[in-house]
């Protein structure tokens, strides 16, 4: 992926990119360069460069208001960028959005199907407007409804479905035309863990069948399941890579500490030089360092500071970083910068 990005950057003329995209197989489904969107004085998205491989699940992370939805809307052809350019499934987002719409699917954050229409009527309507009708539509419906477990709900009005069922119907409607790329804006928000599992199993099956997925989520455990992730903050894409390489950025920078008086200990440890932040997880504190450290070496300075505050520590040990740790670190950085 890094090499692909390097190539795209080097011969970055739009024409060359379309030639690359048109080639079957390894062509990226999204190529964005310096993409930006300004609303009045607000830069919702700034200088976003991104490349997403075909047949991958790309996780798009970031706090609320970071510009994730704006980015998706630009890539879908719903919103005109005010800067830079992007090609999605080989087509330019400003001049060829009609083609993009034909080859991509989109599922909005909130339920946006017709609550008074039945499951089947909703599906048939969206199938129709995507040019799938007659026997082809019936066939596609049987296929998708079986995969996504909606078969028994066909005659039910969509408004009566539970949260998870609604999401599944939304997914089915976004997939009716076999898009090459699907944008899913928080597909599992407000869905219980068992249903989330089902949705993810389905997403993997979809990906295996050759569809690329662009997924925003707030669940960091879901981000771990993506092939690649990008992290947005204040309108900028500040980090991207595989979940493992992202976690690697925090390698040797997280130290676990046991403490009985967790809050006092947290306050004391935040004052120790080199400590970025401390979070509480029951009797365990997670201590983040600005640079990689050795748990054994820093243990002494942590103990001293905690004991002085009257909150003596238990064991001190190295911790494996999680994406959540990274998310918190980035968010903190964003807040500090503001």
């Amino acid at each position: 992926m890094a090499r692909a990005l390097y190539n795209a950057r080097r011969d970055g003329t739009p024409d060359r990119q379309s030639a690359v995209s048109a080639r079957e197989g390894a062509a990226p489904v999204v190529v964005a360069e310096g993409l930006g969107r300004r609303f009045g004085h607000l830069d919702a998205v700034r200088d976003l460069s991104l490349e997403i491989e075909d047949r991958q699940i790309f996780g798009f992370l970031g706090p609320n208001g970071a510009g994730k939805t704006t980015t998706i809307k630009m890539l879908c052809g719903l919103l005109r960028p005010t800067g830079g350019h992007a090609r999605v499934v080989g087509f330019d987002v400003t001049s060829q959005h009609a083609q993009i719409k034909r080859h991509t699917g989109y599922m909005a954050q909130t339920f946006s199907l017709y609550p008074d229409l039945t499951v089947e009527e909703n599906f048939r309507f969206f199938a129709g407007v995507y040019g799938v009708y007659g026997r082809a539509a019936a066939h596609r419906m049987d296929e998708l409804f079986a995969q996504i477990e909606l078969d028994e709900l066909r005659g039910l009005q969509a408004g009566r479905l539970s949260g998870g069922m609604k999401q599944r119907l939304g997914l089915a409607c976004a997939l009716v035309h076999r898009p090459r790329l699907v944008f899913l804006d928080e597909p599992t928000a407000g869905v219980d863990p068992a249903q989330r599992q089902r949705v993810w199993n389905f997403l993997y099956a979809l990906c295996d069948a050759g569809t690329a997925l662009f997924v925003t989520t707030h669940y960091l455990d879901e981000a771990e399941r993506c092939h690649a992730v990008g992290f947005m903050l204040d309108g900028r894409l500040i980090a991207r890579g595989t979940p493992a390489s992202m976690r690697g950025q925090l390698q040797d920078r997280v130290v676990g500490v046991e403490a009985r008086q967790a809050v006092d200990a947290m306050r004391a440890l935040r004052g120790v030089p080199g400590v970025d932040d401390v979070t509480i997880h029951g009797h365990e504190l997670r201590v983040f360092f600005a640079r990689p450290v050795d748990a054994g070496t820093v243990a002494e300075s942590l103990r001293v500071a905690a004991t002085r505050a009257g909150a003596p520590l238990g064991r001190v040990y190295p911790l494996a970083p999680t994406l959540e740790d990274l998310f918190m670190t980035y968010s903190r950085r964003g807040t500090a910068a503001r």
Partner: protein
């Protein structure tokens, strides 16, 4: 394109079938309103004004007046013979309490004064707060008084031998006779003026309100965003909304015309093609206005507010119940912002004067301009900001 519109139309009809109340509203509201308005406004002549007649005279002239008042449909008289001053005071009291709208005093010695060539005075006291009934009451009493005076003069001429008889005398004192002929609406049936107003208003109400909420509802539900990511174009989305409501409005027009014809006896003598064209273009223009309102609204309640704001002034200004000519110059130009104004003019011309296409050409052109403008601007606005919620 046609297939896409077809799917949108089917979807819209499904919404209507699921939403029974809206369906009932759309199907029956225009007919019911036509009946109500037809009866309420159909006959603007004032009749049955509660009038107390206090006969303190008991003579010939008083008798003539009482007879004339009782024969006229303008009054609902309550005659008190042999009335006294106490009755006059009571009548004042009843006028204040709004138990009567007017009272007529035929004073003591009225007939004697009349015969003795002294000033004979008939007093009438009217509730001036009702500016609608007072003038018709006065006009009717005035007519009676002129007649009594003419009779008096004629009978005097006959008595003095200056005229052969009463009839001759009348010819001498009141020689001019007004001969009136009414064209186009010979019986001066007010329905022929008022019913087109009712029909226009009702159809405008239906089309503007129903269309105004259409796109706004999709926005409110978030489904507009979902439509915007499909290959559907703005024009197709509009046509998908337009076709179902256009068909329903046509159905309603037929219902309303049937009611207007059989219940209120409106004349439909014009050329059917001219009438039909006027109706179709008017419905399209009103739907266009509704669509424009819908596009600029973020949700349904905003759309309804805007629609009401648009419809209310048209009740007064578009000439539904009073001719545009009766309005002050300053507000008259506002009327030209309603397709209704042109429809009413064209429709009245068509049904009463057998107008041809050339006769209503200006009205048709003006309404067509509304159709083109409203749909053009709507499509442009929607294309510019497809996902605005």
């Amino acid at each position: 394109m046609i297939r896409n519109v077809y799917y949108l139309v089917v979807k819209e009809f499904l919404h209507l079938v699921r939403d029974r109340r809206t369906l009932v509203f759309v199907l029956f509201m225009p007919t019911i309103l036509t009946v109500i308005f037809g009866y309420a406004i159909g006959n603007p002549r004032v009749t049955s004004i509660r009038t107390r007649v206090l006969d303190m005279d008991g003579g010939r002239i008083a008798y003539e007046y009482v007879q004339a008042i009782e024969d006229s449909t303008t009054f609902k008289p309550d005659v008190r013979e042999g009335a006294t001053d106490a009755d006059v005071a009571r009548a004042e009291e009843d006028l204040l309490r709004d138990r009567i709208s007017a009272f007529v005093v035929l004073p003591r010695g009225l007939s004697a004064a009349f015969d003795g060539r002294r000033d004979a005075i008939v007093r009438v006291v009217v509730d001036g707060s009702d500016t609608f009934t007072a003038p018709s009451l006065l006009a009717e009493l005035g007519r009676m008084t002129v007649q009594q005076n003419a009779f008096a003069a004629a009978s005097m001429l006959a008595r003095e031998g200056l005229a052969r008889d009463m009839e001759d005398g009348l010819r001498d004192v009141a020689p001019i006779d007004l001969k009136t002929e009414f064209r186009f609406n010979p019986d001066l049936k007010s329905q022929n003026f008022v019913m087109p107003g009712v029909i226009g208003l009702v159809l405008q109400l239906l089309t503007v309100i129903v269309m105004a909420t259409s796109i706004a509802r999709e926005r409110e539900r978030g489904t507009m965003e979902q439509l915007a990511v499909t290959p559907l174009t703005a024009g197709e989305i509009f046509l998908g909304k337009l076709v179902p409501y256009f068909l329903l409005a046509l159905l309603d027009t037929v219902n309303v015309l049937i009611v207007a014809r059989w219940l209120f006896g409106i004349s439909l003598a014009g050329h059917y093609w001219v009438i039909a064209t006027l109706v179709v273009v008017f419905i399209l223009g009103s739907l266009g206005i509704g669509q424009l309102i819908s596009v600029v609204s973020r949700n349904q309640s905003q759309a309804v507010q805007l629609a009401v704001f648009y419809i209310m002034p048209s009740f007064v200004l578009a000439g539904a119940f009073t001719p545009i000519e009766t309005q002050p110059e300053r507000v008259r130009s506002v009327a030209y912002f309603f397709p209704l104004t042109y429809f009413l003019h064209g429709f009245r011309t068509a049904i009463l004067r057998q107008a041809s296409f050339a006769d209503v050409g200006q009205d048709l052109l003006a309404m067509l301009a509304f159709v083109v403008l409203t749909f053009g601007v709507s499509v442009l606005l929607l294309r510019m900001r497809p996902d605005v919620r």
